[in-house]
């Protein structure tokens, strides 16, 4: 073997080793909110703000059925079609066997209890902002919901996106734990930021993505093509939306626009959740929308 070839082999092996290391899922947190007395009632607010049932209930579920987190909803994208998993407390098909630490690791880091990366159709990049106490409350709430024994459907994702380990690179590139809006914010605006950038994961639809599916933070909430292929998700920054804070609050609580039309499409589903949040949270969300940097 020539020296050159040997050097080449060493470089490739080294690269692979580094790649393997870099793409390795983060380790599980050791203990979540040990002092916190978890409350399922408080968890319901987190559940609504995070919109869990909009993806994890059976497609088209109404009323009480929205609390059966059986999964199955399909999410078409440029990379393939993802199917929401069963996250009901069923021990076999859901998350009934999970510990709080495993749940926190899944929600905030996008890593399964088996140590696999989740696809970012699950908005863990946004959920990385969620506090330990809120995670614990949410877990208590979900654990008390009805069980469902519907098995998960496999994602239909093509090569190379089918290699989950590759998501480790995606995570390094596109998950940032810092907030996007970093201006000097009031307490209300900060609460709104936690709700919008974190739990509500508004940017997942309202912010455009690059070719690899990462959010373009320079056009935060500036509107994006609808992943379903038809129409656009609107720009909600002051660069395009001139609704007042009062307009936004009425919109979040009733779905009524300033023209007294009602929210349509996916946003109608979002409103079903938001309208159940406490009034100060809706005011906070509206306050955050008003301080977004304008995108033209």
């Amino acid at each position: 073997m020539s020296a050159l070839l040997r050097a080449g082999v060493i470089v490739v092996c080294l690269g692979a080793a580094i790649g393997w290391g870099v793409t390795r899922p983060a380790p599980m947190p050791t203990s979540i909110a040990p002092e916190h007395q978890a409350s399922a009632a408080a968890g319901e607010i987190i559940f609504l703000a995070a919109g869990c049932s909009s993806c994890h209930a059976a497609p088209g579920a109404k009323g009480e059925d929205k609390l059966v987190l059986t999964g199955g909803a399909a999410f078409p994208s440029d990379f393939g079609t993802f199917y929401a998993p069963n996250i009901s407390p069923d021990r076999v098909h859901g998350i009934g066997g999970w510990t709080l630490e495993e749940f926190a690791h899944a929600v905030r880091n996008g890593v399964s209890p088996q140590g696999q990366h989740y696809y970012p159709a699950f908005p863990y990049a946004a959920y990385s902002h969620v506090t330990d106490a809120d995670i614990a409350d949410l877990f208590a709430y979900i654990r008390a919901l009805p069980e469902s024994d519907v098995p998960d459907q496999a994602h239909k994702v093509s090569f190379p996106f089918s290699i989950r380990r590759g998501l480790g690179v995606w995570k390094i590139l596109f998950t940032q734990s810092d907030y996007v809006v970093t201006a000097d914010l009031s307490e209300e605006q900060q609460r709104g930021r936690y709700l919008a950038e974190g739990l509500g994961h508004c940017a997942e639809c309202h912010t455009p993505r690059n070719a690899l599916g990462g959010l373009d933070r320079s056009r935060w909430m500036g509107g994006a093509p609808n992943p379903s292929g038809k129409g656009r998700i609107p720009n909600i920054t002051p660069g395009a939306l001139d609704w007042s804070q009062a307009d936004l609050k009425v919109y979040f609580s009733s779905g009524l626009t300033p023209e007294y039309d009602s929210a349509g499409g996916e946003m109608a589903v979002v409103i079903e959740n938001l309208s159940q949040l406490p009034e100060p949270d809706l005011a906070a969300l509206a306050a955050y929308i008003k301080v977004l940097p304008a995108v033209k």
Binding site: K230, G231, S244, A246, D247, K249, V250, S253, S254, G255, L256, E259, Y260, D261, S262, A263, G264, G265, A268, V269, I271, E272, S275
Partner: protein
């Protein structure tokens, strides 16, 4: 000559038949257009009355118990408006222009009627609340808005 006459007769009958069909179509079309316009006018009246209540709730116009009660009463009347005539066949999105009426209005007529019944209930409650005070009015808007949204979600098609 006779043959020529015969041809002319056939042509004339064909033309008359085609013309008749065209006239018939334009009659149907006119009735469909009128129904679409009528139901859109109903929606506009609903938006107008809801707008008065909504702006009072936001504080952009002053709360007036008499006006609020009148607007809520109108909304309730509109929710109970007899719509036997305004949803004729052939007026769904895709078959008629300028409408977003989803096919489910016809394929699930009972569900559609249910949504109107829900609006009637929500506006009945609003009628009682609107004339009471501002806080009661504000509290009653959510249910009415939810009713609008729930019906639009199931029975309104995407933007044209």
């Amino acid at each position: 000559m006779r043959r020529y006459l015969g041809m002319t007769m056939v042509s004339a009958i064909t033309i008359a038949a085609l013309a008749g069909a065209a006239i018939g179509d334009s009659h149907a079309d006119k009735a469909a257009q009128a129904a679409i316009k009528a139901r859109q006018a109903q929606m506009q009246l609903q938006a107008y009355n809801l707008g008065i209540l909504g702006e009072m709730a936001k504080g952009t116009i002053a709360y007036d118990a008499t006006v609020a009660a009148a607007a809520a009463t109108n909304l309730n009347l509109l929710a109970n408006f007899d719509q036997t005539m305004t949803w004729p066949d052939g007026t769904m999105q895709g078959f008629a222009e300028e409408t977003r009426a989803a096919p489910e209005i016809w394929s699930d007529a009972a569900g559609f009627a249910d949504e109107w019944a829900k609006l009637a209930v929500a506006t009945e409650a609003m009628k009682a609340a609107a004339g009471t005070d501002l806080a009661a009015l504000q509290a009653s808007i959510g249910a009415v808005g939810a009713s609008c949204g729930s019906c639009h979600k199931a029975y309104r098609g995407p933007e044209n």
